[in-house]
């Protein structure tokens, strides 16, 4: 049987990954749904901001019921996999790619991968750099897969600051970081389909900073930051960001943000980057734990 050599049934793995893609594209994680509902309670009855959130709420329900994409921009495919011995990288890649092709065919994913030089759409979401994989070999027994779909509108609203930044008076300290994050919200208004979520990395280099900023979006919205300083900053940005009155879709209102997640990396003394990965309300992430027998023991983010 194909795939047996490596210890995992390739067909079962592929089916599980297709189901993962389907759920990611058509259902929002429960923590994000909760945050949308909190926003609804916050917005004034009859306001335009509340109306936007009501349409968003209806859309979340409808996409799940119809098993169709939440948003037509199914975005770039980001995949993190913790690979135990029984699942080599090559096996995983093959299975994931087959699942992506199938998902594109049946419409869970839009044809969204364009050759940057020729402008030709690959038609199946595969091509240099896509999907974007992050593999980690692990000692444990379970395969852990997490994925995220990030659309163009919100990705275009992501931004990286190099401190000091005189325009906003941001120095190389946490106050400087705060200024960057509030500025990022001003810049993103009306662009990234708010209310949004900020994934932030303080430090690192230009590449690792953005990767860490995106990666921190895998943390659940209501999960407290282990670092008390960053937890305080997250809360402060939530409060101040929502006070900017940008509101859902930029219509004005008290819900500009659904969450802020901040992480940090060491930097070289000469650099101080603040990388902000802006995520839209259609915050599609999901994941599962799978045993060597092919059974999914747990879906992440469905509590």
């Amino acid at each position: 049987m194909p795939g047996k050599k490596s210890g995992v049934d390739a067909r079962v793995l592929q089916e599980n990954l297709l189901e993962l893609i389907r759920r990611t594209s058509t259902q929002l994680p429960s923590d994000v749904v909760r945050a949308v509902h909190q926003g609804l309670r916050r917005e004034k009855k009859g306001s335009t901001g509340r109306y936007a959130l009501e349409v968003i709420r209806d859309n979340i329900i409808m996409a799940k019921d119809k098993s169709q994409p939440l948003c037509q921009d199914t975005g770039v495919i980001i995949c993190y996999a913790d690979l135990p011995d029984w699942c080599p990288e090559s096996t995983f890649r093959k299975a994931f790619e087959k699942a992506v092709i199938k998902a594109t065919k049946v419409g869970y994913l839009r044809q969204n991968s364009v050759d940057s030089i020729t402008g030709i759409n690959s038609g199946n979401n595969l091509g240099p750099g896509g999907p974007s994989y992050h593999f980690h070999p692990i000692k444990g027994k379970s395969l852990k897969v997490r994925m995220m779909l990030k659309g163009g509108g919100c990705e275009n609203s992501s931004i990286q600051y190099s401190l000091p930044d005189n325009r906003i008076g941001a120095g190389r300290d946490l106050e400087g970081v705060r200024r960057c994050l509030l500025d990022a919200l001003i810049q993103a208004q009306g662009k990234g389909c708010g209310p949004g979520i900020l994934g932030v990395c303080v430090g690192g280099d230009r590449g690792s900073g953005y990767i860490a900023a995106k990666e921190t979006l895998f943390r659940e919205l209501d999960e407290k930051n282990e670092n008390p300083t960053l937890a305080r900053l997250e809360n402060r940005i939530m409060k101040e960001g929502n006070g900017l009155n940008i509101g859902p879709m930029g219509f004005g209102g008290a819900t500009t943000l659904l969450g802020v997640k901040i992480t940090h990396r060491n930097r070289v003394p000469a650099s101080f980057f603040v990388s902000v990965a802006y995520m839209c309300w259609a915050f599609r992430r999901n994941g599962f734990m799978m045993s060597g027998s092919g059974r999914i023991s747990r879906w992440l983010y469905e509590s």
């Binding site: 119809k66 948003c71 659309g151 879709m249 004005g252």
Partner: protein
């Protein structure tokens, strides 16, 4: 409030920023390729007098010989800023639907010719697709590809918000001004 075809100047001039509108009638999709084509002198394949243009690259599939809309959310409008106003004037376009709003040039033309900007809820692909009750035709699909084509959508109660009106008001301008003032205050 309900807005039914024909989309006359009188009906459009009566709309104000903040109005929630449900559109019923025929609308046309058009995004980057179409705007550039018309701007460069291309002939419109449909009569655009008193029309509504939807900035949208839909997912449409053929099922049993009929076009069915699978997803139809708005795309970012500001990319059409250089073209939109002059095209409104030249062809009698009464409104555009999109997301993110447009700039001062379009706002000026809205006032001049009697047109508005409708904001649809970004990302709400399913809610919006459901209000497209029929696809009545498609134009320029061979030339530009399906997402960039002009699709004739018969919509029923298609939900939008007026964010730029024909009286010189823009919600986007207001929110930007207000949020920037608050931002500057926070920065001290």
């Amino acid at each position: 409030m309900l807005l039914e075809a024909p989309f006359t100047e009188k009906k459009i001039r009566a709309l104000r920023v903040g109005d929630r509108v449900e559109i019923t009638g025929l609308i046309y999709t058009g995004r980057d390729a179409v705007h550039k084509y018309l701007h460069d002198g291309g002939k419109p394949p449909v009569d655009l007098t008193d029309s509504i243009i939807y900035h949208c690259g839909p997912v449409v599939v053929k099922e049993k010989g009929k076009w069915v809309v699978k997803a139809a959310g708005p795309t970012t409008s500001i990319r059409e800023e250089p073209y939109q106003g002059p095209l409104m004037e030249q062809f009698g376009i009464r409104a555009v639907i999109g997301k993110g709003g447009m700039g001062p040039k379009t706002l000026k033309y809205c006032k001049k010719v009697g047109a508005v900007y409708f904001h649809a809820i970004g990302g709400a692909a399913q809610v919006l697709a459901e209000r497209v009750v029929e696809v009545e035709g498609v134009h320029l699909a061979e030339k530009f590809g399906a997402p960039e084509a002009i699709w004739e959508f018969r919509v029923e109660k298609f939900p939008v918000v007026v964010t730029m009106d024909s009286h010189g008001k823009s919600l986007h301008e207001q929110v930007l001004k207000d949020s920037t003032r608050r931002f500057e205050k926070l920065l001290g």
